[in-house]
Symmetry: C2
């Protein structure tokens, strides 16, 4: 492995000049730039990361901008992953600056303004509120520093990395899980437990993928679908009539346990349920047998990989994939505990 000193020797210039060229600091003659670049290419120079970091002694400040955990179990998971990464990379100068907002648009906007003022080297962000997120990102991108999105993707935004699931494909998978039940007539309920404020695109994508599966499998004519909308995820809007004759239920978000709880309380049995995310309550019903399948988004890993992405890009100057779709993990009672 060739060093800067040796490159300087070969090129008949000083190490300082080589350094200037490598870091595009300018103030070098074009002649030398070409000469040195040629040598770098020829010998395949890669800077010694130990020496570089030792001398540079730079701290890398990554801003994390996520919803607060207050009552949001799901959002604790990415934080756990981030903390794991933080510990692992702290020795490489990585510092995490946490910025949380309450799960509403007003709090988000307020915090966004603060985040925009922060001095940092990278951003990890979850675009929960789509419109506000786009405005925020457009502004933040002016900083010209790497941005990683987790959880939900905004495909329209350019130059921002994404780590998370493909919502459409996860719905497609859910449909397949539902299709396991082979009966003459299969009544499927799709229950949307929504919140006013949240980004609708994720669960709508999931439902789209869900239907898409049945469109691709026209032989499955014995499946009939009904959609139910439960605003504000209000349990009181559920009633036993809804479930009469129902064989399977698809709930395109993590509030699966609300339905499971209702079914249990009303002693409605024998319905196959497919939902999302390993929340404690969901796991409880998985254990107990009411929920059959959960699709795991691995939120902890998303957090970990988000920081790892920034670390590799900024600290190690490595090339990294712009988009990483998390595997679609099927969780049932018998394998949930192996999922870390």
């Amino acid at each position: 492995m060739i060093t800067i000193k040796k490159i300087a020797e070969i090129a008949n210039v000083s190490p300082g000049t080589v350094d200037r060229i490598i870091h595009n600091r300018g103030q070098v003659s074009q002649e030398n730039v070409d000469k040195v670049n040629a040598i770098i290419k020829e010998y395949g120079f890669k800077k010694n990361i130990f020496a570089s970091n030792l001398a540079f002694n730079k701290k890398f400040r990554f801003v994390v901008f996520l919803p607060k955990n207050e009552g949001l179990e799901y959002w604790q998971a990415p934080i756990d992953g981030i903390e794991k990464a933080s510990e692992e990379f702290s020795r490489f100068g990585v510092i995490i600056d946490y910025n949380f907002y309450k799960y509403d648009s007003v709090s988000f906007k307020k915090m966004a303004l603060k985040v925009l003022t922060l001095d940092c080297d990278g951003l990890l962000f979850a675009p929960i509120f789509k419109e506000d997120s786009i405005l925020f990102l457009d502004e933040f991108k002016k900083k010209k520093i790497p941005i990683v999105m987790i959880d939900s993707n905004i495909k329209e935004i350019e130059g921002v990395s994404y780590i998370g699931q493909d919502a459409f494909k996860s719905g497609y998978l859910a449909a397949r899980l539902i299709s396991f039940a082979k009966k003459e007539e299969n009544k499927v309920l799709i229950i949307k437990l929504t919140r006013e404020i949240e980004n609708t695109s994720v669960y709508l994508q999931r439902i789209k993928g869900f239907y898409s599966f049945f469109e691709d499998h026209v032989d499955l004519t014995n499946f009939k679908f009904t959609e139910i909308n439960i605003e504000n995820s209000d349990v009181n809007k559920l009633n036993t009539k809804m479930f009469e004759g129902v064989d399977s239920i698809f709930i395109p978000n993590s509030r699966t346990h609300i339905v499971a709880q209702f079914l249990m309380e009303n002693k409605i049995k024998g319905i196959r349920i497919v939902g999302y995310d390993l929340l404690k309550k969901n796991i409880q019903f998985l254990e107990e047998g009411t929920i059959d399948f959960l699709i795991n988004q691995k939120p902890e890993e998303q957090g970990y990989l988000g920081i790892s992405h920034l670390y590799k890009k900024l600290v190690l100057n490595e090339e990294v994939e712009e988009t990483f779709y998390m595997p679609l993990e099927i969780i049932i009672k018998e394998n949930y505990y192996t999922s870390q």
Copy 2:
């Protein structure tokens, strides 16, 4: 973060003495040992990994001791993972020394003797042949360097790390997948496609776990089991009679495709098949619909994590989990491609 120099200052000794104490090189008075250790504890000293590696400039040689890929698609996967890790960690001085053997006991023993003579800092190893592996490990352990096993575990061996699946639990999971099919009478075939030479403990553990599930679920009385032994995985020993009236098949290893192929060729349809590993041929039958479930052992990740384990332990001096059970990944047609 306190440095060696500062510790020396506080303790009124030279940096050399502090270094000797940190590395247990001896030749220091007990008085100084205690004094310095107290300071290290008080200030929470952690050595600067950049400076350390820069000065040390040590190469870490990890020996990889695995079966050769010749006709063994499965064993290419861990090698891919190892190569990925190798690239990633090469800048930290990690060098991989590959040692392959043919998939037979004689070749293994021959290579084992060579591996024992190698000068290295860590070992990544797959104990395919149990008895021979125990003899080898007992000998290798005298080197007092870290050893990681992947793929199959030998629980009797102490002080050796394991990264891979829990075979028993994966069989248990397979049983659950089989149990999805709800019919009045469910005839289940367990087909053991074996090779004389291989370690039987893995698939036997899987079968044990498989039965264990049905023992835990006594209500599933409608499942009846038959075991078939196909020695040398010989297709010619399969016949159509075996499959008469069969509803489900469990194949406790990666040779699932052999049965799938037979069923396809003989136009036997409607049998649910659960098997192991994402071999190309298995995927092909998964795509086409003959195989319903594959349990993925993530062999690539096992290889990657194995090297990563040694790297963290030796290069970074980090603490690492001794045993890491890989998640039990359920793969169906709709999610296999998301599994990297």
